[in-house]
Assembly symmetry: C2
Homo-oligomer: 560 residues x 2
C-alpha cells in the first residue's frame, strides 16, 4: 500500500469516502439527538492543505540525517513534510481535530522505514546513542496517543514498520504462521486464505492496522470473543530492544520462555519494537454463519450472552451484543441501497416512522456466529437458539448480520464525515466480570452523558456494546456523540478528553477494569497509573529501565 494513496488528515484511502447523502436517516437523526445547529452541520469543513501546514524544521541536523542515512540506507529515511505530517498522529478524535486544522506542533524529525530486522536493530542503537526517541508505527490507526513524538527537547523519529510485512512461513502441521509484525490485517488474511488458512482477526481497522500494532495496543476486533483475541493467538514474539533481542514464547505449561510474553500485549513500544510474531491459524472453515437475534431488553440480552459464553457446547467466532441505543444508531446510519437485505431495510423504514431518541426499553441486538463444517455449525446453532429462546429472543436471520458485515469497515470513514460537521465522537472500553458488568455499563453511560452535557456538547448520545466476552466476564464499550463546543482546536481536544476521563473514572468506581495494556498510549498512561497498583508499576518501570536504559522507546506511554 502506497502511503500516497492514504488520507493524511483522516481515515483510509483517498479514493473512498462515506458522505451523508447515501444514508437518508443519519443526518436528521443526529441533528435531532445532538441538537446540532443547522449551520454547523450543513456543510462539511474542508481540512487545510498539507502544504499550508507550518511545520517546525527537523531537529535532526544535516550531519545527523546523513549519519542516519548512512546507517540505514538512503531509501529508508525521509524528512520531508509529507512523511512527517502523515506520521504525526494516530486516528483518535483528538488526532483528527488537530490534523484537519493543520495543527502539528510535534511532528517526527524523521520517518524511518526499515526493510529488515537488522535495520531496526541498527536504528535503535543509533537512537539510543543519541537520545533520539523512537516511536514505532504500524498502520497508524492507533486511538490512544501512542504514535506521537513526545514533548521536550530531544528529537524523535517514527519507525514505520510497513515494509516488514511478509508472511514468513506457514506450518500446517502445527497450525502456526510466522509473520513480520508490519503485516497489515487484511493483506495477511488474504495471503493465508490463498493457502487455505485463516487468522480470523478482522478488526474494523484491518485494512490498515498491523499485527504488531494489534499486539502493542492490546487490540481486539468488534465481535471477537475473548478466547479468539490476538493475545490468545500469539505463540511467540520476537522483539528488538535497545539492549538486544527478546524472544518470548508461550509454552504448553510453565510460564513461557522467559515469562515476558504477556507483558508485550498493550506495551505500546515501551520496551522495544515487535518485529516478528508466531500466530495460531486454522484452516478456512467450510461454513461461517453469522446471524442477528433481538431481545426485549438489555437484561435478557446480557443473560443470553453470558449463558452462550459459559456453555461448554458452544464456541462462537462472533459474539457482540448492542444495547437499544446502539441498535438505533446503527439503524439510523444504514445506507438506503438495494441489496441491504430485506430485514435491514425494514428496520430503516420502521426507524424512519418513529424517529426520536431510542427508549432504554428498546430491543437489543445480538450478533452471533459459528464456523466449521456444516454439521458442527448447525449443531451449535440449534444449541444457541435454545439458549436464546430461554431469554425470549426473536431471530432476525442473517439479513441484519450481512448488513453489519458489509458496513463494519465504513464506520471510520463515516466518522471523518461527522468530525467535519462539528460532531464529537469517540468510544471508551472497559471490562468486568459478569457480576459487575451491568453496573459498570450503567455507570459508564451516565458518566459519559453527563460529561458531554457539562462540556457544552449538548444532550449527547451514548450507546454501548458488549464484546470480547468469555465465561468469566466481558468487555463493554461505549460510543459517545456530542456537539463540538468550540472552533478552537485545543479547547475541542480538552472537551473530548474530559468526556473520556469521566467515563474511565466511572468504570473504576463501579468495579470495572480499563482496557489498558502496559503502555496504553500517552492519552491513557495516567490511567494506567490509576489502575495499576504502585508496586506493579515500579516493577514495570524497572523492566523498562533494563531493556531501554536511555529511555528512547516511545517515551511517555509508560507513566514515569
Amino acid at each position: 500500500m502506497d502511503s500516497a494513496d492514504l488520507r493524511w488528515w483522516g481515515w483510509g484511502l483517498l479514493g473512498r469516502s462515506e458522505p451523508l447523502d447515501g444514508r437518508p436517516l443519519l443526518g436528521a437523526t443526529l441533528r435531532a439527538w445532538l441538537e446540532l445547529p443547522a449551520e454547523a452541520f450543513e456543510q462539511e469543513l474542508t481540512p487545510v492543505d498539507l502544504e499550508q501546514i507550518d511545520l517546525r524544521p527537523s531537529r535532526l541536523d544535516d550531519p545527523m540525517l546523513t549519519s542516519l542515512r548512512k546507517t540505514l540506507g538512503d531509501g529508508a529515511v525521509r524528512a520531508d513534510a509529507a512523511a512527517r505530517v502523515t506520521h504525526s498522529y494516530g486516528k483518535s478524535y483528538g488526532d483528527l481535530v488537530r490534523l484537519r486544522a493543520g495543527c502539528v506542533p510535534r511532528p517526527p524529525d524523521a520517518v524511518v522505514t526499515p526493510v529488515d530486522e537488522g535495520q531496526v536493530v541498527a536504528l535503535l542503537a543509533w537512537c539510543a546513542e543519541r537520545d533520539v526517541a523512537v516511536v514505532p508505527f504500524g498502520g497508524g490507526t492507533g486511538l490512544e496517543g501512542g504514535l506521537q513524538v513526545p514533548e521536550g527537547e530531544n528529537p524523535g523519529v517514527v519507525l514505520d514498520l510497513s515494509r516488514l510485512d511478509r508472511l514468513l512461513s506457514l506450518d500446517v502441521t502445527s497450525r502456526t504462521a510466522t509473520v513480520q509484525a508490519g503485516a497489515r490485517g487484511a493483506e495477511l488474511e488474504g495471503a493465508l486464505n490463498e493457502k487455505g488458512y485463516t487468522l480470523g482477526q478482522l478488526p474494523q481497522s484491518s485494512e490498515f492496522s498491523s499485527v504488531g500494532g494489534w499486539i502493542a495496543t492490546g487490540a481486539a476486533g468488534h465481535g471477537t470473543p475473548g478466547h479468539l483475541s490476538v493475545e490468545a493467538k500469539t505463540e511467540a514474539l520476537r522483539v528488538v530492544t535497545p539492549i538486544g533481542m527478546v524472544d518470548a514464547e508461550r509454552t504448553v505449561s510453565g510460564g513461557g520462555r522467559a515469562g515476558l510474553l504477556g507483558l508485550l500485549f498493550g506495551s505500546e513500544g515501551a520496551f522495544g519494537v515487535i518485529a516478528e510474531a508466531v500466530l495460531a491459524v486454522r484452516p478456512l472453515p467450510q461454513e461461517s454463519d453469522v446471524r442477528a437475534l433481538a431481545f426485549a431488553g438489555l437484561e435478557d440480552g446480557l443473560a443470553a450472552l453470558r449463558e452462550l459464553m459459559q456453555s461448554e457446547r458452544l464456541d462462537p467466532t462472533v459474539a457482540a451484543l448492542w444495547d437499544g441505543a446502539a441498535v438505533a444508531a446503527w439503524e439510523a446510519s444504514l445506507p438506503a441501497r438495494a441489496g441491504a437485505g430485506r430485514l435491514a431495510d425494514g428496520l430503516v423504514a420502521r426507524r424512519r416512522e418513529r424517529g426520536g431518541y431510542p427508549a432504554e426499553s428498546e430491543r437489543v441486538l445480538l450478533l452471533l456466529g459459528f464456523e466449521g463444517d456444516s454439521g458442527a455449525v448447525a449443531a451449535q446453532w440449534r444449541e444457541a437458539l435454545a439458549v436464546c429462546g430461554r431469554h425470549k429472543s426473536t431471530t432476525l436471520g442473517n439479513g441484519v448480520a450481512r448488513a453489519w458485515e458489509r458496513e463494519r469497515y465504513s464506520w471510520p470513514y463515516l466518522r471523518d464525515t461527522l468530525v467535519g460537521r462539528g460532531v464529537m465522537v469517540d468510544a471508551v472500553g472497559a471490562s468486568a466480570d459478569w457480576s459487575a458488568l451491568p453496573a459498570v455499563r450503567d455507570a459508564l453511560v451516565d458518566a459519559l452523558r453527563g460529561a458531554v452535557r457539562t462540556g457544552k456538547g449538548g444532550p449527547g448520545f451514548v450507546h454501548t456494546w458488549f464484546t470480547h466476552s468469555g465465561p468469566q466476564g466481558s468487555g463493554v464499550y461505549a460510543t459517545f456523540f456530542g456537539r463540538r463546543a468550540t472552533e478552537d482546536v485545543e479547547a475541542s481536544v480538552a472537551q473530548w478528553q474530559a468526556v473520556r476521563d469521566a467515563g474511565l473514572e466511572a468504570v473504576l468506581e463501579a468495579g470495572g477494569r480499563l482496557c489498558l495494556g502496559c503502555g496504553a498510549g500517552c492519552s491513557r498512561s495516567r490511567w494506567l497509573e490509576r489502575q495499576a497498583d504502585p508496586t506493579g508499576l515500579k516493577a514495570l518501570r524497572a523492566l523498562k529501565a533494563a531493556l531501554d536504559p536511555t529511555g528512547v522507546m516511545n517515551p511517555g506511554v509508560l507513566p514515569a
Copy 2:
C-alpha cells in the same frame, strides 16, 4: 491436614504405602528391565530416624527468634528439628535420597506458618530488614529444588502457607472462586464440589499440593489439555512482595492490569509470595466419560492426538498419550486385585505371558475424556471415535481408564518403595510444536537411556507420554528408571542430575522447549539461563531487583 501425619522422608500420609507385594509383575519386570542386583532389590532400605539426624543449630539466635515470634505470634514460628527437617526439601528423587539418609545440610533456620496475609507482609518486612532468605512452601511436593534454603551465610526461613487455605468466595455468576494460595488441591476441589462446582485441576500431587504451588511452579496435571492448565484458569493473583502488594489481573483485552500476571507462573517465589488467586470454575458436569484407546504405534497415536486437539468440534477434559514403554510399565505396575477391570486384568495377564522389554512397535494408549451433559458427551465421543478410527484405533472402553483413575495417586507412594530398593527414577518434561514433537521425543529418549548407561545405571528404562496438548503443540514427558550406582548420597544425586541434564540438553538441541517457568527451581535455574535469551533474563533480574531489593525471596531460583 496435620503435618505430623505426613511421611517426612517420602511421599504422603504415614498411614499409607504401596508395597510391591500387591503388584505381582512389578518387581520381576523391573529387575529384568534394569538388571537390578537381587540383593539390592530384595529388601527395602529403611530411612534413618528423624531423631538421629545431626541438624546444624538454627542460625537465628534467641533474640532473633524472639523478635520473629513477637512480630508474628508464638504459634506461627517453629524452630524444632521436626519442623525444620520436614521443611528442608521438596519431593524430587534427589530430595528423597538425601532425606532417607538423613542428609540435611541446609535446614531452614525456622519455619513460619502465617494465618493471614498481614503476617506474610510482616514476615517479608522482617526478613528483608535482616537479610534472611524466605522460601515459600505450599504443599512441599515440588520436584525442582525450589524449596531449599540457599547455601551461604545468611539464615533462611521457610514460609509454610498451609494455614492460608480458605475458599474465600464463589461467584456463580462470573464462575470464579477466590481462594487463599495455600489451599490444597483435593480439599479445594471437595469444597467446590459441595457447592456444585469444580476447578477440575487434579494433578497426581493434589492431595498435598497447593494452588499457589501449582502457579509458582507452572505445574499442570497428567492428562490435562493445555487450555485447562492452571495458568489458563487464573483470572487474578494477589502477591506479597518485599516492597508491597501486587495485584495482577487478566483482562478481557489489553494485557492485564499491570501485565505482570504471566510472569508469576513458574516464578517459584522469586518475586514474592502468591497469597490469593481468583480461579475460573465450572459447574460440576452431569457426566464425565474417560476411555482408553489403543493405536498400533506412536505415529498413529500422535496423529490422532493432534487431530483431536485441532478439531474445533472437540473439547476434551482429559487427553494423554502413552508410548509403548509407558503402557508396558503401567501394565507391569498394576495390582492384582478384584475390580481392577476385566480389560486391565487382561492386559496384566498378557504382559505376564510375554514379559521382557517392550518393543518400539508396541501399541500405544490414549486416555481421552469428555464431560458435560450426556448429549454433549455422546456427540463428542462420536466425533472423537471417528477421528481415532481414521488412525486405526482399538477402543479399550473405560475399564483401563478406570484403573488409571484409581491408580494415578498411587505412583508417588510406589516411587518411595522403589527408591528404597535402589531404583533411580524421575521424569523430565518438555514441550514442542507438533512439527518438532516426534524428533524432540526421540532425542529425549535416546539421551536419557544413554545417560543412564553412562552413569552406571544399567540398561535403563525410559518411557514417554504426551499431555498438556493444544492445537499448536504438546508437552512430552519422559520417565527414566535406572539402578542407583552407589550408596554414596551425593554421588547418587550427581548420577541422577547427569541423566536429567542429558535429557534437557537433548530437548534444546532438537528444537523443543523445557517446561520451565521464570524461576523453575534451583535445580533448573541454570537451564533457564540456557533457554531464555540473555536480554529477557536481564529484564527478569531487573524486575526482581525492583520487587525484592535485598534479594531475600527464594534466592537461587532465578539465575543471578
